[in-house]
Symmetry: C2
Subunit: 312 residues, 2 copies
């Protein structure tokens, strides 16, 4: 990657999708020079608006993201979609959905779609998604839509990348949904009740209102609730309007920058954790032999790890 | 914790629930001496059978886990239930369910229930669950049932703690379920189709069979499919029977030990990552100031992290 570095960066910045795809693959696979590439493009980032769209499996995220992307394209804004699928750590479940949607948007260079699934065991999905978002930002996309399943720490980390977080709920998802709702109250800037033509939409709305009444946000924003039927486009314009409303709110009193600082605090810690692990792996030695001794209870793992961490 | 260390360990090993609860809280909160306590009890672990029960929100996990616990109690085996709820990183959604179930089992000292939700931003849920499992194991529980939402890397890490993994599906969960299924094929030792009196149960079974036909497990085990209606206890005895069948399989050809060695490889890496991060935080300095410089694009995060990781 090194030799053609500046040429590659120019190509990415000019919006060339082939160079962008090559750079993304390089970063995902940690090819030589990946870190230098990110350093080099970083000064050109910070212009894209990053929108996180999160919801449980079956909430209709993909359809809604597609509809929103179409709407933005009609406004002549360029869009990137990052579909993160942590539900499938082994077989890579993101692929199928990607293929189906790729065909649909294939002819429009103004929409760039990338799917990501969990890679390896180091839990680096949030990190890689962040790096890919950096590249997309540098490529001059106006909007980056990150679509992810709204459960688990990985996804919360991914949501932290976003300037705006849209939480998608659907009527009639059963008892446990209440639990999820309580957990996502704090990350939602906008709520969507998708499939709102189904029975129970009013109930979901009442529940959100009830939870909102219990906990006011520190910044004073009350997340609006937008009802959609993504499959036929109902409510998508209203969603775009709600997003624009929150963008306006972010511009006031330096809120966007403050949010970005908070997000970078979290990301720095994550990046540091990854970097330090890389450093420690050198000392780890024969991990198979160590694991066997621990499995047989000949050594305890706590002492083993303490000893390795002490090494310079 | 240090002064009464050996007294505490004796009390834990004798099964005293108050001491156990105190030790768990100490480990969860990283109170002084937590690591020494784990080192001291580790030699007494490895006797409990750890069963991971995982499924999407709404699959009826809690009810099924309760029914299974009841059945094991009738066989006079002691049970611990660890309900892990990563869906609620901010408000701790596990609490409500815990309360409700606690009342029910309160009079039976043979069932110990503990709820856990995501703590802090360091993503240590899998790690803490592992530590709590170590304490429960040392306390002489025959069976430890870990209940978790089956989505995301966190939960896959939690599943790795288990000797036996039960994946719970339900009919009629929509399109995305297919994707989840593909992802969990490799971690399931036993499939449960819960709420199997609902329409679509046969279809779910056919789908699992179809996926199984595509990918044979290396160890030669074909995960059985058990149909349950947890709410009225239907199929719970069959599930216990299937679990016993897999236990028997694990005893052959040293499979249990081999599985444990593999799990410890993963866990060692995770523990090392946490330990190294702790070490690096000393060098991190004023993270707010760094994050602000990055948010304003005055510095790039990649170089910042590299520099810190280089320090001794």
């Amino acid at each position: 990657m090194d030799a053609n570095h500046s040429a590659l960066i120019s190509a990415i910045r000019s919006g060339d999708t082939r160079s962008l795809a090559r750079a993304i693959s390089g970063v995902e696979n940690r090819s030589p020079g990946w870190s230098d590439l990110l350093k080099a493009v970083f000064p050109y980032t910070g212009k894209a608006r990053v929108i996180g769209m999160t919801g449980a499996p079956g909430a209709g995220k993909s359809t809604l993201v597609d509809q929103l992307a179409r709407l933005y394209r009609k406004q002549d804004r360029t869009v990137a979609i990052v579909a993160v699928d942590p539900t499938s750590p082994y077989t890579g479940g993101a692929i199928l959905g990607d293929r189906i949607r790729m065909q649909d948007h294939f002819s429009d260079a103004g929409i760039y779609i990338r799917s990501m699934a969990t890679r390896g065991s180091l839990g680096g999905l949030a990190r890689t998604t962040a790096d890919v978002t950096t590249l997309l930002d540098a490529s001059g996309r106006d909007l980056i839509l990150i679509e992810t399943v709204g459960v688990g720490q990985d996804e919360v980390d991914i949501v932290r990348l976003a300037d705006i977080t849209v939480v998608i709920l659907v009527p009639g998802m059963g008892d446990d949904v209440q639990t999820i709702k309580a957990g996502i109250m704090e990350i939602a800037d906008i709520f969507v009740i998708n499939k709102s033509d189904r029975e129970g939409a009013e109930r979901v709305e009442r529940e959100i209102r009830a939870l909102q009444a219990l906990a006011t946000r520190q910044d004073g924003w009350t997340p609006p609730i937008v009802k959609t039927v993504a499959s036929d486009g109902t409510g998508v314009a209203e969603l775009a309007h709600a997003i624009a409303g929150y963008e306006e709110f972010l511009q006031k009193e330096n809120r966007a920058l403050r949010k970005s600082v908070e997000n970078w605090q979290e990301r720095l810690v994550q990046m540091l954790r990854d970097a330090m692990l890389e450093k420690a792996r050198v000392h780890l030695g024969d991990i198979n032999a160590l694991a066997a001794e621990i499995a047989e209870h000949k050594r305890d793992p706590y002492t083993v790890v303490e000893e390795i961490a002490k090494l310079p």
